[in-house]
């Protein structure tokens, strides 16, 4: 049996100590196969631990227990060289298409840094060719965007630039942390389309982290539903959404409005699982 691309085993993350301890992730297992590229969705609401999981995979935060292996090698034991390789092959795009750009620099900066740190090109011209190609994949032209400052671009352009940067590194996996939750509907379609094309034409897998099941339904292959740090249901996306088994999955899916006034949205369905309570000490 071939090694999976990425394997998360028994991932547990506890913040704080003793009585203040908050468990963000509990014994999470997750595998992304190495064969054909796929889009795996991690769905959950705020506080479900989905961002913690993304951060752990990206190496921004450590796990309290459990392991993450990339093509059979544990992240914790990677050499300096191994880490650099992992960085290159596992990239990310984020929710906020504004904050990811350093306001001090022009847009070109994020490409320059990537080219330099990963030694992608022998000279400037080669680098420019790579950047041009990456921008073409997301439908942007270098002379329109590179020498602008972040605030001079639209949200859609910024989000696409972020995808171009990820693509530039020719990664195997992109962790997409809520990439469409802060953009307009039209931009959303564009981003989802790029994700599909990267999967189908360039063989890049995605770990798509979202609270929005409907976009997952549109583009996702597998799905894991995360609730209070635990995966409560997993399977093929359409199978899970069409016939959810776990109570929480049912609640979550039942809460999504359908874009059709003829369909009755059951506002009165029970909401027992999310007992809201005042945050008093």
């Amino acid at each position: 049996m071939p090694e999976p691309l990425l394997a998360v085993r028994g991932a547990t993350k506890v913040y704080g100590k003793r009585q203040n301890a908050v468990t963000a992730l509990r014994d999470v297992d997750l595998t992304i196969a190495d064969g054909a590229a796929s889009i795996t969705t991690i769905a959950g609401e705020s506080g479900s631990g989905k961002t913690t999981l993304a951060d752990a995979i990206l190496g921004f935060t450590g796990l309290t227990s459990g392991s993450i292996t990339y093509r059979g090698r544990d992240l914790a034991g990677l050499s300096r060289r191994g880490r650099l390789e992992y960085r290159r092959e596992v990239q990310a795009i984020f929710q906020d298409p504004f904050g990811v750009y350093n306001p001090f620099y022009r847009m070109r900066h994020i490409f320059d840094v990537a080219v330099r740190r990963f030694d992608l090109a022998p000279d400037k011209r080669a680098a420019q060719r790579l950047v041009d190609e990456a921008l073409a994949v997301v439908g942007l032209r270098a002379d329109e965007v590179l020498d602008k400052h972040p605030h001079q671009l639209s949200g859609g352009q910024r989000q696409r630039m972020m995808m171009a940067r990820a693509y530039l590194l020719k990664p195997r996996l992109i962790v997409a942390d809520e990439p469409v939750s802060m953009v307009d509907a039209s931009v959303r379609a564009m981003i989802l389309d790029i994700m599909l094309r990267l999967r189908d034409e360039h063989g890049i897998s995605f770990l798509y982290i979202t609270h929005d099941l409907s976009t997952a339904y549109q583009i996702g292959d597998d799905i894991c539903i995360l609730y209070r740090g635990e995966i409560v249901e997993r399977g093929e996306t359409r199978a899970v959404i069409d016939a959810p088994q776990h109570e929480y999955s049912k609640l979550l899916i039942g809460s999504i409005p359908v874009p059709d006034p003829e369909v009755v949205w059951d506002l009165d369905a029970p909401v027992s699982l999310t007992g809201e309570s005042a945050r008093t000490p």
Binding site: S154, L192, D193, Q218, V258, D268, L273
Partner: protein
């Protein structure tokens, strides 16, 4: 449309954002009515001017924005022409607001109860302590919050609770019109459904009208009676919600409906952008010529009774794959 049924009549409302190089048109001569007891959805993407329109109704446009023209007739009285005192009296008692992002909309140093009491005292004069407490408790109960919330500070509430506290405050004076500016967009889906239910319940109970601003067509489909679609400061289509979804006329409306992903039907993703150069975002009027170079509002034609749309045979409404960039 018969005038008597209308709670609110907006005509040719214009809002500009002033910049050093001239004005940006935020709202370009918008006209619409809100009927008694109905919910009007105002939808559009960011920069479409929907929130600015809502704030202009209350004359709350903050600099660099300013209202440059139009009338906002509330029960036959023009709010834009009203003096400060009258305006202040009409605010909240007649038109209340459920703000966008209630996270920062509550004063962090006042207890939730006191912020509700504030509007009651201001508009109805002094009230007795016990009766007042009972009334506030009742309001909180209406939106499904326990009485103790009254004595809590905003930071002690979760997002959903804060939004419900804002709803309780909005209905405190039984206004005839409630403006809800993306009231659920910051909430998780499950909480969103609960808050949406609360919103509809209180609206029905008061029999007031509501303007529900949003970008989520799916949500609008279930909550509003009529929809007005805004693009670049113009209403490009307006009509009963079922009509609009069944027979959207304007390409932008079609585009908005098409771009909502569904959990029941997997459809191909069509990345597309509309470009409307003449009224595009961030159109600048050059300095000193703001008044003379006003743009004409978009003309609407009647598709069917009560359903109006802008003419879209104009070439500029072509669907392109380009992303609109502001000049």
């Amino acid at each position: 449309m018969t005038g008597d049924q209308n709670v609110l009549r907006v005509r040719d409302l214009r809002v500009h954002y002033g910049t050093g190089r001239g004005d940006i048109i935020a709202v370009n001569g918008v006209s619409f009515d809100v009927r008694a007891g109905e919910t009007l959805g105002l939808v559009g993407e960011s920069g479409s001017g929907k929130s600015t329109t809502a704030m202009a109704l209350l004359r709350l446009v903050s600099p660099p924005g300013r209202i440059v023209g139009g009338t906002v007739m509330l029960h036959g009285e023009d709010l834009l022409a009203a003096d400060e005192r009258t305006l202040r009296r009409r605010r909240w008692s007649e038109v209340s607001l459920i703000p966008q992002g209630s996270m920062n909309s509550l004063n962090p140093v006042l207890r939730v109860g006191d912020q509700i009491v504030d509007v009651i005292r201001t508009h109805e004069g002094r009230a007795r302590g016990a009766a007042l407490t009972e009334r506030v408790t009742g309001l909180l109960e209406t939106v499904g919050l326990p009485p103790r919330v009254m004595r809590l500070y905003p930071h002690e509430l979760s997002g959903g609770m804060k939004q419900r506290a804002c709803i309780a405050m909005a209905i405190a004076l039984s206004p005839s019109l409630i403006i809800a500016d993306e009231p659920t967009s910051a909430l998780d889906v499950v909480v969103q459904r609960v808050v949406a239910r609360t919103l509809m319940e209180v609206k029905d109970r008061l029999n007031s009208s509501m303007i529900l601003i949003g970008h989520d067509m799916a949500l609008q489909a279930h909550l509003v009676d009529r929809i007005a679609v805004m693009y670049a400061g113009n209403i490009v289509e307006i009509g009963p919600v079922a009509e609009i979804f069944r027979d959207p006329r304007h390409p932008y409306t079609r585009h908005l409906i098409a771009s909502v992903p569904s959990i029941h039907r997997r459809k191909p993703i069509v990345p597309s952008e509309l470009r409307f150069p003449d009224h595009g975002r961030g159109t600048l009027l050059s300095r000193g010529r703001q008044m003379s170079s006003r743009r004409r509002p978009v003309d609407l034609y009647e598709v069917s009774p009560g359903h109006f749309a802008a003419r879209a045979d104009d070439e500029t409404w072509a669907v392109t794959e380009e992303d609109p960039t502001h000049a």
